[in-house]
């Protein structure tokens, strides 16, 4: 209970600090925000109007206060280009990013967990070395290049085995679910393979740390085969660690797939944020950065609490 309270207090403090950082990041820009946002060829009247609209003439503390007040009402501001609310824009983009990372995570788990187990189960030094090499290389591939390689292999039009489209998300969106899903396959595979390599490393090290406590030998002494002991005892004991890792990985993928979204022309959360940054739409950027940071903090909180719930040994050390 004490842990829960402390962790929640910490969450609120971190959220405040992040909001301050995001707010100030935009205020320390060299030059005037309104001038930057209005662009190179803007008239002085336009700049003045923008400054008035954003309330830039008011003191910083007042600006911050009204921004936070807006946030508490769920108002993240409006984008400059289309006049839509930032929340609505992010919601539209999330409809692409979340399916993409869920697919990617499924691929990653399907690759990473079996390979991680196999790496621990391998008996021959040569096989172990092979898995080692696989994990190291998988973690070293730049996402952009991984995507390019898969395009070279499988994309319709340019691929060696042209079976999958790589031409971006269909204009009709999820109204044509088949097409939309197909557009996500190649990006999801790219993400899945790269993230799969890190899931594999985590699975292996979690299993090894379980094995170092002697539980697996214990299970074998009780008559289990080595495979059984690793898969049924080891994997279960490694589960709390793995759940934490998967949770944090999931969160990290939201921004981690930015490059992939960009490469495959998918208008998701990450590539959208980069676009807004390029358009100097600073109100939208401020809102999106805060929203993402808040999302990561929430996931961090949930992961910590779940880890505790799954592994009661951790709670025993509380003072």
């Amino acid at each position: 209970m004490r842990y829960l309270l402390r962790r929640l207090a910490l969450f609120v403090v971190a959220l405040l600090v992040i909001s301050l950082v995001v707010f100030l990041a935009l205020r320390v820009l060299p030059g005037d925000i309104a001038t930057i946002m209005a662009g190179l060829n803007a008239s002085p009247e336009r700049v003045a109007a923008l400054r008035d609209q954003l309330g830039l003439d008011r003191p910083l503390s007042e600006q911050y206060g009204s921004w936070i007040a807006g946030l508490l009402h769920g108002d993240l501001g409006t984008t400059m280009l289309t006049g839509q609310s930032v929340a609505a824009v992010v919601a539209t983009r999330a409809r692409i990013t979340f399916p993409l990372i869920i697919l990617g995570l499924l691929v990653a788990l399907a690759i990473g967990i079996p390979l991680g187990c196999a790496a621990v189960l391998a008996r021959k030094a040569r096989t172990r070395a092979f898995f080692q090499v696989l994990a190291v290389i998988g973690g070293a591939v730049p996402a952009l290049w991984g995507g390019l390689l898969l395009i070279l292999l499988f994309a319709k039009g340019s691929g060696i085995l042209p079976i999958l489209p790589a031409t971006g998300f269909p204009r009709t969106g999820w109204h044509t679910p088949g097409q939309a899903l197909l557009a996500l396959v190649l990006p999801a595979l790219t993400v899945g393979i790269i993230v799969g390599a890190s899931i594999m490393r985590y699975t292996r090290s979690a299993l090894q740390s379980v094995a170092s406590t002697g539980t697996i030998e214990m299970a074998m002494a009780c008559g289990m085969t080595r495979t059984d002991a690793v898969l049924r005892v080891g994997l279960r004991l490694a589960m709390p660690q793995l759940v934490s890792v998967v949770g944090l990985t999931f969160a990290e993928m939201v921004t981690g797939v930015m490059v992939i979204e960009n490469l495959f022309a998918l208008p998701g959360i990450g590539s959208g944020l980069v676009d807004d940054l390029g358009h100097r739409d600073l109100v939208a950027v401020q809102g999106e950065l805060f929203l993402l940071a808040a999302f990561f903090l929430v996931i961090g909180l949930l992961v910590d609490l779940t880890h505790r719930a799954l592994d009661p040994r951790l709670g025993a050390n509380d003072d």
Binding site: V141, P142, S158, L297
Partner: protein
């Protein structure tokens, strides 16, 4: 007492035992080549970087242009060579920054002031879930595309990581009898930290630094592609990789080289940390105990 001669002998022992392992041999060779090529590129590249040639754009690899030419007719191989020095600078700065930040945080966590120790643990727990990319984007808002964005974001992320991973070892050392006796003899807190705590967490520091170096190279390629990394016009591997995307429908095989280069370098950086940790460990390397 360690004089210069002993120190040199130790460095030789560490390097030679790294060389005996395949992973160490690979990483030493590749990193050595990297540094050499960076130095060479300062005074010589096969073609001038700014040399454009409107008649020979998007050329396939040939004897005169080993990796072909890009959309302005500039030589891709020359740009990759020059890019190695930018990435080398990024890697060195990132490692220095993440190690400095990480060690400062560890010092705070093992300090005898309860508030400082507790506060730093709590702050790390809260901030560690924010990914490097997001930090980079936050920094890119005021700073624009620059090397500093990559260095600060990767250094910050891995500084936190280092502190978190090194904490148990550091606490063990800080609460040990030898630290107590050092304190009783009047050693100051910084001295205790540097001579007794840091050597104990060195293996973790080495591995985390090598991971942060690898991440910095990967982050450079991603962020530069997105336009918030190395500014345009500055040669870097990320720049070459991003340029190669435009090649894909013209000379598909040309796409292979920049990415392959980045992959090989990141592998070398990651293996280097593991190999160095093993070679530096007096328990695993009996030669060091004799030196």
């Amino acid at each position: 007492m360690t004089d210069t001669a002993t120190r040199m002998r130790r460095i030789r022992i560490v390097l030679s035992s790294m060389w005996r392992q395949p992973a160490g041999k690979y990483s030493l060779t590749v990193l050595g080549l990297w540094i050499a090529v960076s130095l060479v590129s300062l005074c010589w590249t096969p073609y001038d970087l700014m040399e454009t040639d409107g008649y020979h754009v998007w050329q396939a690899p040939s004897a005169s242009h080993w990796l072909g030419t890009d959309g302005t007719g500039a030589d891709v191989f020359s740009w990759l060579m020059a890019g190695s020095r930018t990435d080398l600078v990024i890697v060195v700065l990132t490692v220095l920054f993440s190690a400095a930040l990480g060690l400062l945080l560890v010092a705070a966590m093992v300090s005898r002031s309860g508030a400082l120790a507790h506060g730093s643990v709590v702050a790390i727990d809260a901030l560690i879930s924010i990914p490097t990319v997001l930090i980079a984007l936050m920094l890119a808002v005021p700073m624009g595309a620059s090397v500093a964005v990559i260095v600060l974001a990767c250094g910050f992320g891995y500084g936190l990581n280092l502190a978190r991973v090194a904490r148990p070892q550091a606490l063990l050392a800080a609460n040990s009898m030898y630290v107590e006796s050092a304190r009783a003899n009047g050693a100051s807190a910084p001295r205790v930290f540097l001579t007794h705590v840091v050597p104990n967490i060195m293996p973790v520091v080495v591995v985390q630094c090598s991971l942060s170096a690898g991440t910095a190279v990967l982050a450079e390629s991603g962020l530069t592609y997105l336009g918030v990394g190395v500014p345009s016009g500055v040669p870097s591997w990320g720049h070459s990789l991003a340029t190669s995307v435009k090649f894909i429908n013209i000379n598909p095989q040309t796409v292979l080289w920049p990415g392959l280069l980045v992959t090989l370098m990141v592998v070398a950086l990651n293996l280097f940390g593991d190999a160095l940790r093993d070679a530096m460990d007096p328990l695993a390397n009996p030669q060091l105990r004799r030196a």
